[in-house]
Amino acid sequence: DEAITAKVTTDPALTALLPAKIRDAGVIKAATDAQHAPCDFLEEDNKTFTGWEEDYRQALGKKLGVKIEPVSIAFDGLIPGVQSGRYDMAMQCISDSVEREKIVDFVDVSLSTNGIYLLAGSGVTADPKTLCGKKSGNQSGTTYGQTISNILSPYCVEQGLKPIEKMEFNSQDATILALLSGRVDFLVNDASSAKYIREASKKPLEIVIPDILPRWINGIVVQKGNDELANALLAGAKAILADGTYDEIMKKWDLQPIILREPGINLKTKAAE
Amino acid sequence: MTAPMVSARQVGKTFGTLEVLKGIDLTVEQGEVFCLIGPSGSGKSTFLRCINHLEKVDSGTLRVDGDLIGYRQEGHKLYELHERDIAVQRAQIGMVFQRFNLFSHMTALQNVCEAPVSVQRRPAAEVREEAVSLLQRVGLGNRINAYPHQLSGGQQQRVAIARALAMKPKLMLFDEPTSALDPELVGEVLDVMRQLAQAGMTMVVVTHEMRFAEEVADKVAFMDGGRVVECSAPSVLFRDPRQERTREFLARIL
């Protein structure tokens, strides 16, 4: 967003932190799968990247004194693309985990939490017991499925109720379609999508967030061992957090609750230690 | 009075713009051996194919054993028969092709057994026995399990004849049945055909074997350019042809 980015000032000290190759090129190549509102998606022209992460990248780039150029690529190609050095970073609301940190490095910059989406009047409430025995939907390849099978379903079994019947779909819109056509009773998705999913749905939707749902940490993925870049990105992230740009972006997208106040590198592994 | 086995009235046939048959009139009596001779392209094969409706007749009528072939008559209207009724008519007419056309995925024996079992629904064991003896009759008793491509041209044609005979047809059509056979074996096959004739089988034979025609045929027709030029007993046609064209043709080949 021009209005926000314009106010960001470049810090040459941070530029100096970047790997020489990137500094020389003046460009950080970023990969994303621009089919995920509100993190990353395309504007009406189907060319211009948008989403809160795009605004974040623009601000971060300006702060670091380079351009961060995104490319949209199907999810399967993200990690091999970073590993092969084709892309310097990948960013697509990717959540951090100890397992993933073994393969790549994370610069953690935001939080995420899951929400339960359901059709109005379906009888499900914030009490997780009301979910038991129902059919759930979620997008495949995300952590939402684990939320259902590792947290919600075991909770139901613990309570002596029927577990949740889980179904996965390969895109967010297919998941929503399943909810609208009554194929599933509720779906688990990122809570941050609420605004968008509500606007896009042809039927009124409700969102509930039961207490037992966890909070995740999301971050920027870089090649394992590329500490120079990771540290530079982290310094930049801290800088745009400090100067208030980050808050401004999240305010624009109505997402203040997921701001991570203490960004860091590989926070999951560090937390485990 | 029995109807003639084959009776053609003004049979015409056109391929696109090419008029191949220009009004054929012919009668083949029951038990007769009828030979068709004539130059290449004169329409002999085409006429033979019309007799069992492999080619649809464009004009005129064709009857076999009194029945219209391929049509049902009501008043002045001709209703085309349903395919399965035509199939029933064809099952009673055996045909041996110029180019064998053996089923290439079946052994000699399977070729012979196929139609009696699957069309006439006769018991397989009985058919098999008959088929073996038929194959022996044409000199192939030792090759019954060979596939067509393992047989020489002559051997293939003999299987084809056995296959047609296995249906016990009331009429046999032969399209140059011996043209791919060795001279040595032609005799054997003609013997089989002679025996068939004696047993009362009616046969229409397109052939270049003038000696066979002269000896066995009851009637010989000479075709040229889609017309029957002359039709009479072999003794007449071969010794004393009425038409100039016939004389020319015979002069060149005899």
Binding site: F75, D76, I79, P80, Q83, S97, E99, R100, K102, I103, V104, G137, S140, G141, T142, G145, M167, E168, F169, N170, S171, A174, L177, A178, L180, S181, G182, R183 | R49, N52, L54, E83, R84, A87, V88, Q89, R90, A91, Q92, I93, G94, M95, F97, R99, N101, L102, F103, S104, H105, M106, E114, A115, S118, V119, Y147, H149, A160, R163, A164, M167
Partner: protein, 274 residues
Amino acid sequence: MVIPAQRMTDRIGMALMCIVGLGIVAELIRNPNFEWGVVFSYLFEPAVLWGMGLTLWLTIASMAIGLVLGVIFAVMRMSARTWLRVPALLYLWLFRGTPLLVQLIFWYNLAFLYPDLRIGLPFGGATLYEGSVNDLITPYSAALLGLALNEGAYMAEIVRSGIMSVDHGQQDAGRALGMTRRKVLLRVVLPQALRIIIPPTGNQTIGMLKTTSLVSVIALYDLLYAVQTIASRTFQTIPMLIVASLWYLVLTSILSVIQSRIEAHFNAKSSGAH
């Protein structure tokens, strides 16, 4: 003593083949990026094996139905009757012309377009069945419906090309023996067409192994989806894709062996064998 031609060329060729072959094998083993350790640790993961089971099951079932549909529509397409030919052409056009992904989503979400199904006698007659389409169309039936109908359209063209390859004299012979068109087709033409149909059908079957992965869009977990799920958790994309590839190769090998057996069987009979 007879010395075959091109003995030199043959020897150089053989040597080249062996060197290149060994080079590739050595490279595969040596390059650490393939991470064989990870590959083998996930190779027999139950989720992967389950996925493979589904892949195999869907492939076999949809190819079987597809082949039957293919024969029916090939014959219809070659028919002289307009009312048989036109629907066949439309079927081919529609099912080959739209992405399978779309077809699967369509069948699966039929409920979105038609929430309730009512099967009844026409012109306001009695209702025979009434219920939710979602109850009728499970993910499995939607997958099978989608895959088989799609495959049928492709198989129809393959069967047609096979039928065209059979010498027309074969049909003459069959019909002269009193067989109906149907019997000629089943007993004479198709058995001979099979030889020509088998290789492209092998292609389709092997392609189908991979195509089934589209069913993940309707919540079924095939082989590829299983490894993708693991990869999206662990980010070991390349080793996990190798896991899937190895299994696909195993399945492809089995299918190829079956195919060459069948081909050998037909070639033994057929004149085309040289």
